[in-house]
């Protein structure tokens, strides 16, 4: 397995962790703390113990995240600044979304999400151009596009959150409450996961493949917006008015995102291993990273997805215990979550206990995505149950 030089260099930095932090790390951490401190000073009258805990807990978690994955610092700053700008532009008048120039064309949730959609699709194309041309520059462009799209996506959600409160206080809610909103979440999370591995493994060759699912999600999103008007902010039905939703849904989508990523890497894996089997120095063999690396990425992201999916499913059970009168009701959505979980548990057993690698596991990862897709969409479309959101 290949270990790149600067990876080693960074790894060889023998100073203790805190000593390795530079001034930007500290400034950024300070800003994060100041930000949450400000939020606290402004809203503590409205917060209970949990919420205060959650506020500072997540601030510290964010700092830790940014210190261990440097890109997060710039990303979170960008999202914060643009979102604040948009919120400031709104003031307390939702109508300004149509009047104020920046809102109308750039940072109202709707515009931001449109920008996200456009950029993801462009990035997909650009990544493939990079794969074919092997031009470093094109690769850099593709990455930046993806980064910007991901910023816009999260900004879109943040601003949408604010907009829901501008409609009226009792309508306001975190934007993870229907299929439209979680599709944006899905795109953003999958992109972030990908960008992490892109940085870690120093290769952009997988970008096109991963961005392909994101583009598919974007396609659905656009259809859902223009055909069904799903972007309308609707108030929450009583069943969804729960703290659990805030954590259950995002945790779930870390899982879905990671599984999707693994599947697309699986596709790349098949392309390369297919040509290798034929024994010829085919295009993909040259273009794509070595098989062990693809195997490794596949495993790592399924493991990550599995871990979060476990947590998400459990959070779901805890929520169900509060909303439906039982932590497990064999409701179709629950059951399919279990099916997905079992499927990946089996996958992981194969790898960890039987040491399976290569093509079969790649195929399995791809099949896994379809199982996941059904749990996430199919259930809402074809099966009836207790889950009260996202009927198509």
């Amino acid at each position: 397995m290949s270990v790149t030089q600067d990876e080693l260099a960074q790894h060889f930095d023998d100073r203790p962790f805190l000593k390795r932090l530079n001034w930007f790390d500290w400034v950024w951490a300070l800003l994060t703390l100041v930000g949450s401190g400000f939020a606290y000073s402004k809203y503590n009258s409205l917060m209970d113990g949990y919420e205060i805990g959650i506020l500072f807990g997540s601030a510290i978690a964010l700092i830790g995240w940014g210190w261990s994955w440097k890109a997060v610092r710039g990303y979170s700053l960008a999202v914060a600044l643009i979102s604040l700008f948009a919120i400031w532009q709104y003031g307390d008048d939702l109508a300004r979304g149509e009047q104020a120039f920046f809102l109308k064309y750039l940072v109202s949730s709707q515009s931001a999400i449109m920008w996200m959609s456009a950029l993801y699709v462009l990035a997909t194309v650009t990544y493939f151009i990079h794969t074919f041309s092997r031009s470093e520059f094109v690769g850099k462009v593709a990455s930046s596009m993806t980064w910007v799209a991901t910023v816009m996506g999260l900004v879109g959600l943040m601003v949408r959150w604010r907009e829901s409160y501008l409609i009226s206080h009792d309508v306001g809610h975190i934007p993870v409450s229907n299929l439209y909103e979680v599709f944006i979440l899905f795109a953003v999370i999958t992109a972030l996961l990908y960008l992490y591995y892109e940085g870690k493994y120093r290769t952009r060759a997988m970008g096109g493949f991963v961005l392909l699912v994101i583009s598919a999600a974007v396609g659905f999103l656009l259809w859902y917006t223009f055909d069904r008007g799903a972007h309308e902010i609707a108030p929450l039905v009583p069943a969804l008015q729960s703290y659990w939703m805030k954590i259950h849904v995002p945790a779930n989508f870390i899982g879905y995102g990671a599984f999707a990523l693994a599947a697309m890497v699986g596709v790349a894996h098949l392309l390369r291993s297919g040509q290798e089997k034929k024994g010829k120095e085919g295009f993909w063999v040259k273009a794509l990273p070595p098989i062990e690396m693809l195997d490794d990425v596949m495993y790592k992201s399924i493991a990550l997805g599995f871990a979060f999916f476990t947590v998400a499913t459990i959070l779901g059970a805890l929520w169900a215990a509060e909303a439906w009168g039982g932590y497990w009701s064999w409701d179709p959505k629950e059951t399919w979550a279990l099916i997905v979980w079992l499927n990946y548990a089996a996958w992981l057993h194969m790898r960890l206990t039987k040491g399976w690698r290569g093509t079969p596991m790649a195929w399995w990862a791809i099949v896994g995505l379809f199982v996941t897709l059904f749990a996430f969409l199919g259930v809402n479309m074809f099966l009836s149950g207790l889950h009260s959101y996202g009927e198509l």
Partner: protein, 642 residues
């Protein structure tokens, strides 16, 4: 091990069945869906209740057993492994490892020191051992990974066992042994036979009950396939008040019940409010806001007869879920009131600016005749504004599967039904209509300068007949009359003539109604009154199809709601939650703590020392290789210095 994997997959596939096939529906639905043959097959396969079917539980149990066996087999070695440094490592075994390095040094002390430093800094724990001049340093890190494995699998077992406790297994066994039997008839709990009652001390159950405002319940019903069981509670729950709050868009915002729990063992009754997502936990029972419906609202009704010569009204009081006999022009009818709704949120009209419109209170009822045939109606209490005009709406359907067809009765300027009813009665009152006709003809004949009494009498007869036809059968009445009495070729023109005549007399009659109302007609008829006329005529034209001898107007109501409570007892919950905690901890430990081992062996031979370095870290090769690479380079660097 393949067994475990295939088990995982099997359970996954088996679980699919229960999601594609609606579980625990009334058997009738299944028979309709699949036909009697397949119904039998599915039934015997337990596909209607997969997750408590024998075979499914068998697989689950198998899963649990194999996991337990796995734990039993691996746990001891793993635990030993965790705090065991394997100092007995042999040189040749080290040389067989994928990662190893062999170098020679003059200064073993220095090399050893740097190596130790480095390993410590990378978080390895070290032990060393000297035997016959040979020194072995064993370093390891990430031992907790194995604990993660144990946690994860232990959790699976714990969760399944806890779930089994809360699942309806005990109940299932009781049923198989014939100790209990679900009740399928729809009868009050007091009449349900002993065999369908569960013991008060039943450790775990999950049932539902509807409590009307002011009422109370001390038992719940457990759905069991095509029937139900009765579960008595150790306390009584009374519903003081039930509230539904709405967003201004009209969608429901919250459902809340104010409960009072009466418990002999307690001095004071407990008062609590529950809402969706906010259950009340009382002595191991969780009480949830599950649903709501009408609890028998009291209704004051005013029945306007629709086919009498004079406006007749009949008042009576009834209530939701109540049946009463009513005398009508069509003989005895049974009035069965099914439901009352305080809010009726419908999509608003185009261009109204709003997305939703509240049509206000309505009530649903059936009118059943002696033969038992019934039509279903849905009447709104107050006029609804549609296209700028106000209508009393009444929906009608003769099949429950059909959509309602709506009768739009225009409301008069003071929002009442009076004008319409007067108009309607007048048209059915032949003498009155003849008077109107005489007047109308008088005017027209004078206008035309004709004075032919015979002809005029005919015209009046025709007018009276047409009005009568219209009143009894709407426009169809006239059409069919023409078709039966007029030869083919003349129908068209006769029809035209009749329509003209009918319109004349109808508008004359309407004018009569207005004058009686005291509307001043010396000026032209007002826009509003003209529109009313058209709407009234349309309404009357559809009265025959409406098929009710009267229009029931809701005068007054006392809203009584019922709250649907779900009450569950799950003693296994704590156990399961502990399992949840274990599995979360376990999975993360398993994936993010990587076991790694490195051995360093110093073999002095005369003035030089060979340093043998080897290690393994299969769970996360990349990171391990980085550690190892680091060591190699460091050592290489040190050994360069002479």
């Amino acid at each position: 091990m393949y067994l475990a994997i295939s088990l995982l997959v099997t359970v996954a596939i088996a679980s699919v069945v229960g999601t594609v096939l609606q579980q625990n529906e009334p058997y009738q639905n299944y028979i309709i869906k699949f036909g009697p043959f397949w119904h039998e097959v599915f039934l015997t396969l337990g596909l209607y209740d997969v997750y408590s079917a024998g075979w499914f539980l068998f697989i689950l149990t198998f899963l649990v057993v194999s996991t337990s066996v796995c734990i039993y087999r691996n746990a001891p070695t793993m635990v030993r492994d965790m705090n065991h440094f394997r100092l007995d490592m042999q040189a040749d075994r080290m040389r067989l490892m994928k990662h190893h390095l062999e170098v020679e040094t003059h200064d073993p002390a220095n090399a050893e020191q740097t190596i130790r430093q480095l390993l410590r800094r990378k978080g390895y724990r070290l032990r060393s051992r000297d035997s016959e001049g040979q020194r072995v340093i064993a370093a390891k890190k990430g031992a907790l990974n194995r604990l993660g494995y144990l946690f994860t699998h232990l959790a699976i077992v714990i969760i399944c066992v806890g779930g089994l406790v809360d699942g309806n297994i005990a109940l299932k066994l009781k049923e198989l042994s014939g100790q209990i039997q679900p009740e399928t008839r729809d009868i009050p709990a007091s009449e349900v036979p002993e065999i369908s009652w569960l013991p008060k001390e039943n450790p775990s159950f999950r049932g539902n009950v509807n409590v009307p405002e002011g009422g109370s319940a001390s038992l719940v019903f457990l759905q069991l396939r095509d029937g139900y069981l009765v579960q008595p509670l150790p306390f009584r729950i009374a519903l003081k008040d039930f509230r539904v709050e709405h967003y201004e868009s009209g969608q429901p915002k919250s459902f809340e019940s104010d409960l009072v729990v009466f418990d002999e063992t307690e001095a004071e009754p407990l008062e609590a409010t529950i809402a969706v997502n906010h259950p009340l936990i009382y002595k191991g029972h969780a009480i949830y806001q599950a649903s709501f419906q009408d609890g028998g609202s009291l209704l004051d009704i005013n029945a306007w007869s629709l086919n009498y010569e004079t406006v007749e009204q009949q008042q009576f009081a009834t209530a939701v879920f109540q049946n009463m006999e009513v005398e009508t022009s069509r003989g005895k009818l049974t009035l069965e009131v099914d439901d009352f709704r305080l809010f009726n949120i419908n999509p608003a009209e185009e261009g109204s600016g709003k997305r939703f419109q509240n049509y206000g209170p309505n009530f649903k009822f059936k009118l059943r005749n002696a033969q038992g045939e019934a039509r279903e109606y849905e009447n709104y209490m107050t006029p609804v504004k549609l296209e700028g005009r106000w209508f009393y709406l009444s929906g009608m359907r003769s099949q429950v599967s059909d959509p309602f067809f709506y009768l739009h009765i225009p409301a008069d300027p003071n929002q009442s039904l009076d004008r319409f009813m007067n108009f309607n009665a007048l048209l059915r009152n032949e003498p009155e209509i003849r008077k109107v006709a005489e007047q109308a003809t008088a005017e027209t004949f004078v206008a035309m300068g004709v004075s032919d009494d015979k002809m005029r009498a005919e015209v009046i007869d025709t007018m009276a007949r047409l009005v009568n036809l219209f009143a009894t059968d709407g426009f169809n009445g006239i059409v069919s009359h023409v078709e039966t009495h007029v030869p083919e070729e003349r129908r068209m023109q006769v029809m035209d003539a009749y329509m003209k005549v009918l319109r004349n007399v109808l508008s004359a009659a309407y004018a009569e109604v207005l004058t009686r109302e005291g509307v001043d007609l010396s000026a032209d008829v007002s826009e509003q009154d003209a529109v009313f006329y058209d709407d009234a005529i349309n309404a009357m034209a559809s009265l025959p199809a409406y098929g009710s001898p009267f229009f029931l107007q809701l005068k007054n109501f006392e809203h009584v709601q019922a709250s649907g409570l779900q009450i569950a007892k799950a003693p296994g919950k704590g156990v399961v939650y502990f399992g949840f905690f274990l599995i979360c901890a376990g999975v993360f430990m398993m994936f993010y703590i990587h076991p790694r081992r490195i051995w360093v062996m110093f073999n002095p031979n005369n003035d030089r020392t060979t340093v043998l370095l080897a290690g393994s870290g299969d769970r996360n090769l990349r990171e391990f290789e980085q550690d190892f690479e680091r060591l190699k380079q460091q050592i290489a660097r040190d050994l360069k210095q002479p």
